[in-house]
Protein backbone atom coordinates (compact mmCIF):
# COMPACT_ATOMS: atom_id res chain seq x y z
CA UNK A 1 0.00 0.00 0.00
CA UNK A 2 1.23 3.47 -0.79
CA UNK A 3 0.54 6.39 1.51
CA UNK A 4 0.95 9.90 0.14
CA UNK A 5 1.00 11.95 3.28
CA UNK A 6 -0.08 15.60 3.17
CA UNK A 7 2.95 17.35 4.57
CA UNK A 8 2.89 20.80 6.07
CA UNK A 9 6.42 22.03 6.34
CA UNK A 10 7.70 25.54 6.68
CA UNK A 11 10.40 26.01 4.05
CA UNK A 12 11.12 29.67 4.65
CA UNK A 13 14.70 30.61 5.41
CA UNK A 14 16.12 27.22 4.45
CA UNK A 15 19.57 27.21 2.87
CA UNK A 16 20.32 24.85 -0.01
CA UNK A 17 23.51 23.44 -1.45
CA UNK A 18 24.85 24.96 -4.67
CA UNK A 19 23.25 23.38 -7.71
CA UNK A 20 24.18 22.93 -11.37
CA UNK A 21 21.72 22.70 -14.26
CA UNK A 22 22.06 20.77 -17.55
CA UNK A 23 24.98 22.20 -19.56
CA UNK A 24 26.58 23.99 -16.59
CA UNK A 25 30.32 23.69 -16.06
CA UNK A 26 31.35 21.30 -13.27
CA UNK A 27 35.13 21.60 -13.56
CA UNK A 28 38.27 21.19 -15.66
CA UNK A 29 39.27 17.68 -16.61
CA UNK A 30 37.39 14.39 -16.63
CA UNK A 31 35.10 13.13 -13.87
CA UNK A 32 37.07 10.82 -11.58
CA UNK A 33 34.47 8.07 -12.06
CA UNK A 34 32.41 7.39 -15.17
CA UNK A 35 28.93 8.79 -14.62
CA UNK A 36 25.60 9.23 -16.36
CA UNK A 37 25.07 12.65 -14.90
CA UNK A 38 28.04 14.60 -16.29
CA UNK A 39 29.75 14.65 -19.67
CA UNK A 40 33.27 15.47 -20.77
CA UNK A 41 33.95 17.70 -23.74
CA UNK A 42 36.86 19.90 -24.85
CA UNK A 43 38.85 19.19 -21.66
CA UNK A 44 35.96 20.25 -19.40
CA UNK A 45 33.18 18.43 -17.55
CA UNK A 46 29.60 19.66 -17.80
CA UNK A 47 26.53 18.56 -15.88
CA UNK A 48 23.76 16.79 -17.76
CA UNK A 49 21.15 17.03 -14.99
CA UNK A 50 19.99 19.25 -12.14
CA UNK A 51 22.16 18.20 -9.23
CA UNK A 52 24.79 18.86 -6.62
CA UNK A 53 28.32 19.13 -8.09
CA UNK A 54 31.05 17.15 -6.36
CA UNK A 55 34.79 17.91 -6.08
CA UNK A 56 35.36 14.68 -8.05
CA UNK A 57 33.63 16.41 -11.00
CA UNK A 58 30.70 14.08 -10.56
CA UNK A 59 27.12 15.30 -10.10
CA UNK A 60 24.58 13.87 -7.66
CA UNK A 61 21.24 14.23 -9.45
CA UNK A 62 18.19 15.52 -7.57
CA UNK A 63 15.88 13.26 -9.53
CA UNK A 64 16.97 10.06 -11.25
CA UNK A 65 15.57 6.67 -12.15
CA UNK A 66 17.17 3.60 -10.63
CA UNK A 67 19.74 1.98 -12.91
CA UNK A 68 20.26 -1.62 -11.66
CA UNK A 69 23.79 -2.41 -10.46
CA UNK A 70 25.16 -5.83 -9.54
CA UNK A 71 25.03 -6.69 -5.80
CA UNK A 72 22.57 -3.92 -4.91
CA UNK A 73 20.00 -4.97 -2.32
CA UNK A 74 16.64 -3.87 -3.67
CA UNK A 75 12.97 -4.13 -2.75
CA UNK A 76 10.77 -5.23 -5.64
CA UNK A 77 7.13 -5.99 -6.32
CA UNK A 78 6.09 -9.09 -8.26
CA UNK A 79 4.67 -7.92 -11.56
CA UNK A 80 4.09 -11.19 -13.44
CA UNK A 81 4.31 -14.94 -12.90
CA UNK A 82 5.74 -17.42 -15.43
CA UNK A 83 6.20 -21.20 -15.02
CA UNK A 84 9.83 -20.92 -13.89
CA UNK A 85 10.37 -17.26 -13.08
CA UNK A 86 8.79 -14.09 -11.74
CA UNK A 87 9.06 -10.63 -13.21
CA UNK A 88 9.91 -8.16 -10.44
CA UNK A 89 9.23 -4.45 -10.76
CA UNK A 90 12.24 -2.59 -9.36
CA UNK A 91 11.04 1.08 -9.34
CA UNK A 92 13.18 1.43 -12.48
CA UNK A 93 12.75 1.38 -16.27
CA UNK A 94 14.18 -2.15 -16.14
CA UNK A 95 12.22 -5.00 -14.47
CA UNK A 96 14.16 -7.92 -12.95
CA UNK A 97 13.81 -11.64 -13.63
CA UNK A 98 13.74 -13.85 -10.53
CA UNK A 99 14.27 -17.49 -11.55
CA UNK A 100 12.70 -20.24 -9.44
CA UNK A 101 16.16 -21.70 -8.78
CA UNK A 102 17.32 -18.40 -7.31
CA UNK A 103 15.03 -18.67 -4.28
CA UNK A 104 15.29 -20.49 -0.96
CA UNK A 105 12.25 -22.61 -1.86
CA UNK A 106 12.08 -25.81 -3.91
CA UNK A 107 9.81 -24.59 -6.66
CA UNK A 108 8.44 -27.13 -9.15
CA UNK A 109 7.61 -26.28 -12.76
CA UNK A 110 4.45 -24.15 -12.81
CA UNK A 111 4.40 -23.81 -9.03
CA UNK A 112 5.81 -20.30 -8.89
CA UNK A 113 2.41 -18.87 -7.98
CA UNK A 114 2.37 -20.88 -4.73
CA UNK A 115 5.33 -18.94 -3.38
CA UNK A 116 4.97 -15.42 -4.76
CA UNK A 117 1.96 -13.87 -6.46
CA UNK A 118 1.43 -10.61 -8.28
CA UNK A 119 1.67 -7.72 -5.83
CA UNK A 120 3.94 -9.49 -3.31
CA UNK A 121 7.01 -7.60 -2.18
CA UNK A 122 10.46 -9.15 -1.82
CA UNK A 123 13.91 -8.10 -0.75
CA UNK A 124 16.37 -9.37 -3.34
CA UNK A 125 19.90 -8.87 -4.65
CA UNK A 126 20.78 -7.87 -8.21
CA UNK A 127 22.63 -10.91 -9.54
CA UNK A 128 23.52 -9.81 -13.07
CA UNK A 129 22.89 -7.00 -15.53
CA UNK A 130 23.72 -7.49 -19.22
CA UNK A 131 24.71 -4.86 -21.79
CA UNK A 132 21.13 -4.12 -22.83
CA UNK A 133 20.20 -3.80 -19.14
CA UNK A 134 18.34 -7.07 -18.79
CA UNK A 135 18.30 -7.65 -15.05
CA UNK A 136 18.44 -10.90 -13.08
CA UNK A 137 17.76 -10.86 -9.36
CA UNK A 138 18.38 -13.53 -6.76
CA UNK A 139 16.96 -14.30 -3.35
CA UNK A 140 19.92 -16.51 -2.44
CA UNK A 141 21.26 -13.93 -0.05
CA UNK A 142 21.12 -13.66 3.74
CA UNK A 143 19.23 -10.35 3.47
CA UNK A 144 16.68 -11.58 0.92
CA UNK A 145 13.18 -12.53 1.96
CA UNK A 146 9.51 -12.16 1.19
CA UNK A 147 7.86 -9.20 2.92
CA UNK A 148 4.59 -10.12 4.62
CA UNK A 149 3.80 -7.05 6.72
CA UNK A 150 4.61 -3.36 6.92
CA UNK A 151 4.26 -0.47 4.50
CA UNK A 152 6.21 0.36 1.36
CA UNK A 153 7.16 3.84 0.14
CA UNK A 154 8.62 4.74 -3.26
CA UNK A 155 11.20 7.46 -3.93
CA UNK A 156 13.63 8.29 -6.75
CA UNK A 157 16.76 6.17 -6.36
CA UNK A 158 18.90 9.32 -6.19
CA UNK A 159 17.37 10.07 -2.77
CA UNK A 160 18.59 6.84 -1.16
CA UNK A 161 21.90 8.34 -0.04
CA UNK A 162 20.06 11.22 1.67
CA UNK A 163 17.48 8.93 3.29
CA UNK A 164 20.32 6.90 4.79
CA UNK A 165 22.39 9.98 5.68
CA UNK A 166 26.11 10.16 6.33
CA UNK A 167 27.06 6.80 7.83
CA UNK A 168 23.35 6.08 8.25
CA UNK A 169 22.77 9.08 10.52
CA UNK A 170 19.36 9.99 9.11
CA UNK A 171 17.87 6.52 9.06
CA UNK A 172 19.20 5.59 12.52
CA UNK A 173 17.76 8.83 13.89
CA UNK A 174 14.34 7.97 12.44
CA UNK A 175 14.52 4.41 13.78
CA UNK A 176 15.53 5.60 17.22
CA UNK A 177 12.81 8.28 17.43
CA UNK A 178 9.96 6.02 16.24
CA UNK A 179 11.08 2.52 17.21
CA UNK A 180 10.43 1.31 13.68
CA UNK A 181 12.06 -1.37 11.58
CA UNK A 182 13.11 0.20 8.28
CA UNK A 183 14.83 -1.30 5.24
CA UNK A 184 15.94 0.98 2.42
CA UNK A 185 16.43 -0.67 -0.97
CA UNK A 186 19.09 0.78 -3.26
CA UNK A 187 16.29 1.30 -5.82
CA UNK A 188 14.55 3.91 -3.68
CA UNK A 189 11.91 1.60 -2.20
CA UNK A 190 11.60 1.89 1.59
CA UNK A 191 9.96 -0.75 3.75
CA UNK A 192 8.67 0.35 7.15
CA UNK A 193 7.22 -1.72 9.97
CA UNK A 194 5.95 0.34 12.88
CA UNK A 195 2.78 1.33 14.71
CA UNK A 196 0.18 2.97 12.43
CA UNK A 197 0.90 6.46 13.75
CA UNK A 198 4.67 6.03 13.50
CA UNK A 199 4.23 4.73 9.95
CA UNK A 200 2.35 7.85 8.93
CA UNK A 201 4.92 10.12 10.54
CA UNK A 202 7.81 8.22 8.91
CA UNK A 203 6.06 8.51 5.53
CA UNK A 204 5.81 12.27 5.97
CA UNK A 205 9.42 12.51 7.10
CA UNK A 206 10.59 10.52 4.06
CA UNK A 207 8.57 12.82 1.80
CA UNK A 208 10.33 15.81 3.32
CA UNK A 209 13.75 14.19 2.92
CA UNK A 210 12.98 13.40 -0.70
CA UNK A 211 11.73 16.88 -1.56
CA UNK A 212 14.31 18.84 0.41
CA UNK A 213 17.27 16.53 -0.13
CA UNK A 214 19.58 19.42 -1.08
CA UNK A 215 18.77 21.54 1.98
CA UNK A 216 21.59 22.07 4.50
CA UNK A 217 20.93 20.77 8.01
CA UNK A 218 18.12 18.44 6.98
CA UNK A 219 18.71 15.81 9.69
CA UNK A 220 17.97 18.30 12.46
CA UNK A 221 14.88 19.59 10.65
CA UNK A 222 13.52 16.08 10.17
CA UNK A 223 14.25 15.15 13.78
CA UNK A 224 12.31 18.21 14.93
CA UNK A 225 9.46 17.38 12.55
CA UNK A 226 9.15 13.78 13.76
CA UNK A 227 9.13 14.84 17.40
CA UNK A 228 6.47 17.49 16.75
CA UNK A 229 4.22 15.14 14.80
CA UNK A 230 4.50 12.30 17.32
CA UNK A 231 3.65 14.77 20.09
CA UNK A 232 0.63 16.02 18.13
CA UNK A 233 -0.64 12.49 17.61
CA UNK A 234 -0.10 11.64 21.26
CA UNK A 235 -2.18 14.59 22.45
CA UNK A 236 -4.86 13.87 19.87
CA UNK A 237 -5.21 10.17 20.64
CA UNK A 238 -4.17 9.58 24.29
CA UNK A 239 -3.85 5.90 25.16
Amino acid sequence: MIIRAPVSFNNRGLKTRALVFPGDLVGDGRPMMPTLYAYFERSKTYSSVIGIPQPSRNVIPLNAKYVPKVDDIVIGIVEDIQPVYWVISLNSPYPGILHANETMWEVGFGETGKYLTVGDAVIARIQAVDETRRVFVTMKDPKARKLTSGTIFFYPASKVARILGKEGSMISMIKQKTGATIIVGQNGVVWVRASPIATIVIGEALDIISRYSHVIGLTELVAEYIERRLEEHKSKYPE
Binding site: L19, F21, G23, Y39, Y46, S48, V49, I50, K65, R211
Partner: protein
Protein backbone atom coordinates in the same frame (compact mmCIF):
# COMPACT_ATOMS: atom_id res chain seq x y z
CA UNK B 1 -16.06 13.24 -65.07
CA UNK B 2 -12.47 14.10 -65.81
CA UNK B 3 -13.24 17.76 -65.67
CA UNK B 4 -15.04 17.30 -62.38
CA UNK B 5 -11.92 15.70 -60.88
CA UNK B 6 -9.74 18.45 -62.20
CA UNK B 7 -12.01 21.02 -60.68
CA UNK B 8 -11.90 19.44 -57.25
CA UNK B 9 -8.14 19.23 -57.42
CA UNK B 10 -7.88 22.86 -58.41
CA UNK B 11 -10.19 23.71 -55.56
CA UNK B 12 -8.09 21.83 -53.06
CA UNK B 13 -4.96 23.54 -54.31
CA UNK B 14 -6.63 26.92 -54.01
CA UNK B 15 -7.67 26.10 -50.49
CA UNK B 16 -4.17 25.06 -49.52
CA UNK B 17 -2.79 28.16 -51.09
CA UNK B 18 -5.29 30.18 -49.11
CA UNK B 19 -4.22 28.48 -45.88
CA UNK B 20 -0.57 29.22 -46.58
CA UNK B 21 -1.17 32.86 -47.31
CA UNK B 22 -3.31 33.25 -44.21
CA UNK B 23 -6.52 35.17 -44.18
CA UNK B 24 -6.89 38.41 -46.10
CA UNK B 25 -5.40 41.22 -44.11
CA UNK B 26 -8.18 43.52 -42.88
CA UNK B 27 -7.92 46.83 -44.74
CA UNK B 28 -6.33 49.59 -42.71
CA UNK B 29 -4.45 47.22 -40.34
CA UNK B 30 -0.84 48.31 -39.96
CA UNK B 31 1.41 45.75 -38.29
CA UNK B 32 4.34 48.15 -37.91
CA UNK B 33 3.79 51.90 -37.39
CA UNK B 34 6.08 54.82 -38.29
CA UNK B 35 7.94 54.64 -35.00
CA UNK B 36 8.76 50.94 -35.75
CA UNK B 37 6.37 49.88 -32.99
CA UNK B 38 4.23 46.79 -33.50
CA UNK B 39 0.50 46.42 -32.83
CA UNK B 40 1.09 45.22 -29.26
CA UNK B 41 3.52 48.08 -28.64
CA UNK B 42 6.71 46.01 -28.90
CA UNK B 43 9.87 46.99 -30.74
CA UNK B 44 10.92 44.78 -33.64
CA UNK B 45 13.52 42.93 -31.54
CA UNK B 46 11.41 42.54 -28.40
CA UNK B 47 10.01 39.33 -26.90
CA UNK B 48 6.55 38.99 -25.45
CA UNK B 49 6.43 38.72 -21.62
CA UNK B 50 7.35 35.15 -20.55
CA UNK B 51 6.54 33.36 -17.31
CA UNK B 52 7.78 29.84 -16.50
CA UNK B 53 7.13 27.43 -13.65
CA UNK B 54 8.74 24.06 -13.05
CA UNK B 55 7.26 21.03 -11.26
CA UNK B 56 3.57 21.83 -11.55
CA UNK B 57 2.29 18.23 -11.85
CA UNK B 58 2.72 15.58 -9.16
CA UNK B 59 2.07 12.46 -11.23
CA UNK B 60 4.59 13.19 -13.97
CA UNK B 61 8.33 12.60 -13.51
CA UNK B 62 8.92 16.17 -14.62
CA UNK B 63 6.68 19.04 -15.64
CA UNK B 64 6.65 22.70 -16.58
CA UNK B 65 4.16 25.43 -17.37
CA UNK B 66 4.85 28.41 -19.58
CA UNK B 67 2.97 31.60 -20.34
CA UNK B 68 4.43 33.29 -23.38
CA UNK B 69 2.39 36.33 -24.32
CA UNK B 70 -1.10 34.91 -24.66
CA UNK B 71 0.20 31.33 -25.10
CA UNK B 72 -0.43 28.97 -22.19
CA UNK B 73 1.25 25.59 -22.39
CA UNK B 74 1.58 22.66 -19.98
CA UNK B 75 4.30 20.04 -20.47
CA UNK B 76 4.66 16.66 -18.73
CA UNK B 77 7.60 14.30 -19.10
CA UNK B 78 7.60 10.61 -18.21
CA UNK B 79 10.64 8.43 -18.24
CA UNK B 80 12.94 6.87 -18.95
CA UNK B 81 10.38 4.09 -18.57
CA UNK B 82 9.74 0.60 -19.87
CA UNK B 83 8.64 0.71 -23.51
CA UNK B 84 5.64 -1.29 -24.69
CA UNK B 85 5.06 -2.85 -27.18
CA UNK B 86 8.39 -4.66 -26.90
CA UNK B 87 9.14 -4.55 -30.63
CA UNK B 88 9.47 -0.76 -30.42
CA UNK B 89 12.34 -1.08 -27.95
CA UNK B 90 15.80 -0.26 -29.23
CA UNK B 91 18.50 -2.38 -27.53
CA UNK B 92 21.08 0.38 -28.02
CA UNK B 93 19.23 3.52 -26.97
CA UNK B 94 16.10 5.13 -25.58
CA UNK B 95 13.23 6.13 -27.84
CA UNK B 96 12.07 9.72 -27.43
CA UNK B 97 8.39 10.25 -28.15
CA UNK B 98 6.65 13.60 -28.17
CA UNK B 99 3.05 14.65 -28.46
CA UNK B 100 2.20 18.21 -29.33
CA UNK B 101 -1.52 18.68 -28.88
CA UNK B 102 -3.80 21.68 -29.02
CA UNK B 103 -6.77 21.72 -26.65
CA UNK B 104 -10.14 22.13 -28.39
CA UNK B 105 -10.58 25.45 -26.59
CA UNK B 106 -7.10 26.79 -27.33
CA UNK B 107 -8.02 28.97 -30.31
CA UNK B 108 -10.86 31.27 -31.35
CA UNK B 109 -12.40 28.57 -33.50
CA UNK B 110 -12.70 25.14 -31.86
CA UNK B 111 -9.88 22.74 -32.77
CA UNK B 112 -11.13 19.25 -33.59
CA UNK B 113 -9.59 16.92 -30.97
CA UNK B 114 -7.04 14.41 -32.14
CA UNK B 115 -3.91 14.49 -34.25
CA UNK B 116 -3.90 16.78 -37.27
CA UNK B 117 -1.44 17.08 -40.14
CA UNK B 118 0.15 20.03 -38.36
CA UNK B 119 0.37 18.52 -34.87
CA UNK B 120 1.76 15.21 -36.18
CA UNK B 121 4.52 17.10 -37.97
CA UNK B 122 5.40 19.24 -34.96
CA UNK B 123 5.39 16.22 -32.63
CA UNK B 124 7.73 14.32 -34.93
CA UNK B 125 10.18 17.21 -35.24
CA UNK B 126 10.21 17.89 -31.50
CA UNK B 127 10.84 14.20 -30.77
CA UNK B 128 13.71 14.09 -33.26
CA UNK B 129 15.18 17.30 -31.90
CA UNK B 130 15.22 16.04 -28.30
CA UNK B 131 16.64 12.71 -29.50
CA UNK B 132 19.77 14.68 -30.36
CA UNK B 133 19.87 16.59 -27.07
CA UNK B 134 19.18 13.76 -24.58
CA UNK B 135 21.88 11.14 -23.91
CA UNK B 136 19.69 8.35 -25.25
CA UNK B 137 22.47 5.72 -25.26
CA UNK B 138 22.43 5.73 -21.46
CA UNK B 139 18.98 4.17 -21.28
CA UNK B 140 18.66 1.26 -23.75
CA UNK B 141 15.22 -0.31 -24.30
CA UNK B 142 13.29 2.54 -22.68
CA UNK B 143 10.99 5.35 -23.75
CA UNK B 144 11.06 9.01 -22.80
CA UNK B 145 7.66 10.59 -23.32
CA UNK B 146 7.06 14.32 -23.71
CA UNK B 147 3.49 15.61 -23.66
CA UNK B 148 3.00 19.20 -24.77
CA UNK B 149 -0.54 20.43 -24.21
CA UNK B 150 -1.38 23.83 -25.67
CA UNK B 151 -4.15 25.30 -23.49
CA UNK B 152 -4.26 28.68 -25.16
CA UNK B 153 -2.62 29.54 -28.49
CA UNK B 154 -1.49 32.85 -29.91
CA UNK B 155 1.28 32.00 -32.43
CA UNK B 156 4.63 30.57 -31.44
CA UNK B 157 3.26 27.60 -29.52
CA UNK B 158 5.89 25.20 -30.82
CA UNK B 159 8.77 27.38 -29.63
CA UNK B 160 7.09 27.95 -26.26
CA UNK B 161 6.39 24.20 -26.07
CA UNK B 162 10.03 23.31 -26.75
CA UNK B 163 11.23 25.81 -24.14
CA UNK B 164 8.89 24.34 -21.52
CA UNK B 165 9.65 20.75 -22.58
CA UNK B 166 13.36 21.21 -21.94
CA UNK B 167 12.54 22.49 -18.43
CA UNK B 168 10.29 19.50 -17.81
CA UNK B 169 13.02 17.12 -19.01
CA UNK B 170 15.50 18.74 -16.64
CA UNK B 171 12.94 18.45 -13.83
CA UNK B 172 12.50 14.75 -14.62
CA UNK B 173 16.26 14.22 -14.27
CA UNK B 174 16.75 13.09 -17.86
CA UNK B 175 20.46 13.52 -18.73
CA UNK B 176 20.90 15.95 -21.63
CA UNK B 177 23.55 18.17 -23.22
CA UNK B 178 21.94 21.38 -22.04
CA UNK B 179 18.73 23.32 -21.79
CA UNK B 180 17.02 24.06 -25.11
CA UNK B 181 15.51 27.49 -25.74
CA UNK B 182 13.40 28.28 -28.77
CA UNK B 183 12.08 31.40 -30.40
CA UNK B 184 10.68 32.51 -33.74
CA UNK B 185 11.36 35.48 -35.98
CA UNK B 186 9.63 36.52 -39.16
CA UNK B 187 8.94 39.15 -41.73
CA UNK B 188 6.04 41.55 -41.36
CA UNK B 189 5.38 44.33 -43.87
CA UNK B 190 8.99 44.06 -45.02
CA UNK B 191 10.50 44.33 -41.53
CA UNK B 192 12.29 41.47 -39.76
CA UNK B 193 10.66 41.05 -36.36
CA UNK B 194 11.21 38.78 -33.38
CA UNK B 195 8.58 36.53 -31.81
CA UNK B 196 5.50 37.08 -34.00
CA UNK B 197 2.08 37.19 -32.36
CA UNK B 198 -1.10 35.89 -33.94
CA UNK B 199 -1.91 38.89 -36.16
CA UNK B 200 1.66 39.17 -37.35
CA UNK B 201 1.81 35.43 -38.05
CA UNK B 202 -1.47 35.44 -39.98
CA UNK B 203 -0.89 38.57 -42.05
CA UNK B 204 2.93 38.59 -42.20
CA UNK B 205 5.13 37.33 -45.02
CA UNK B 206 7.31 34.78 -43.23
CA UNK B 207 7.74 32.91 -39.93
CA UNK B 208 10.88 31.08 -38.82
CA UNK B 209 10.88 29.09 -35.55
CA UNK B 210 14.36 28.07 -34.34
CA UNK B 211 15.47 26.13 -31.24
CA UNK B 212 18.98 26.13 -29.91
CA UNK B 213 21.21 25.12 -27.03
CA UNK B 214 22.16 28.67 -25.97
CA UNK B 215 25.07 27.47 -23.82
CA UNK B 216 26.82 26.05 -26.91
CA UNK B 217 25.29 28.47 -29.42
CA UNK B 218 24.12 25.44 -31.42
CA UNK B 219 20.96 25.36 -33.52
CA UNK B 220 19.00 22.13 -33.06
CA UNK B 221 15.69 22.90 -34.77
CA UNK B 222 14.90 25.15 -37.72
CA UNK B 223 11.74 25.59 -39.75
CA UNK B 224 10.53 28.32 -42.06
CA UNK B 225 7.23 29.28 -43.58
CA UNK B 226 6.95 31.98 -46.26
CA UNK B 227 9.76 33.68 -48.12
CA UNK B 228 12.82 35.67 -47.03
CA UNK B 229 16.08 36.57 -48.75
CA UNK B 230 19.38 35.20 -47.49
CA UNK B 231 20.18 38.51 -45.80
CA UNK B 232 16.79 38.57 -44.09
CA UNK B 233 17.25 35.01 -42.81
CA UNK B 234 20.63 36.00 -41.35
CA UNK B 235 19.15 39.04 -39.61
CA UNK B 236 16.30 36.94 -38.26
CA UNK B 237 18.68 34.25 -37.02
CA UNK B 238 20.76 36.85 -35.19
CA UNK B 239 17.64 38.20 -33.49
CA UNK B 240 16.70 34.65 -32.47
CA UNK B 241 20.18 33.89 -31.12
CA UNK B 242 20.08 36.92 -28.82
CA UNK B 243 16.53 36.12 -27.74
CA UNK B 244 17.42 32.50 -26.97
CA UNK B 245 20.16 33.68 -24.60
CA UNK B 246 17.54 35.76 -22.77
CA UNK B 247 15.11 32.84 -22.67
CA UNK B 248 17.90 30.59 -21.36
CA UNK B 249 18.46 32.99 -18.46
CA UNK B 250 14.72 32.89 -17.74
CA UNK B 251 14.80 29.08 -17.79
CA UNK B 252 17.62 29.01 -15.27
CA UNK B 253 15.73 31.52 -13.15
CA UNK B 254 12.67 29.25 -13.19
CA UNK B 255 14.76 26.25 -12.11
CA UNK B 256 16.40 28.32 -9.38
CA UNK B 257 13.00 29.38 -8.08
CA UNK B 258 11.94 25.78 -7.81
CA UNK B 259 15.10 24.23 -6.39
CA UNK B 260 17.01 26.99 -4.62
CA UNK B 261 14.23 29.28 -3.37
CA UNK B 262 12.13 26.08 -2.85
CA UNK B 263 9.07 27.77 -4.29
CA UNK B 264 6.13 25.44 -4.72
CA UNK B 265 7.80 22.60 -2.85
Amino acid sequence: MKEGLKNTRANIQNEEEGEKMGMEKPPGLKLVDEGLKRIDGRRLDELRPIKMRVGVLNRADGSAYIEWGKNKILVAVYGPRELHPRYMQDPTKAVVRARYNMAPFSTEERVRPGPTRRSVEISKLIAEMFTGVIFIEEFPRTAIDIFIEVLQADAGTRTAGITAASLALADAGVPMRGLVAACAAGKIEGYIALDLNKEEDNYGEADMPVAMIPKENKVVYWQMDGQMTEEEVKTALNLIKNACQKIYEMQKEALKKRYIDLEGL
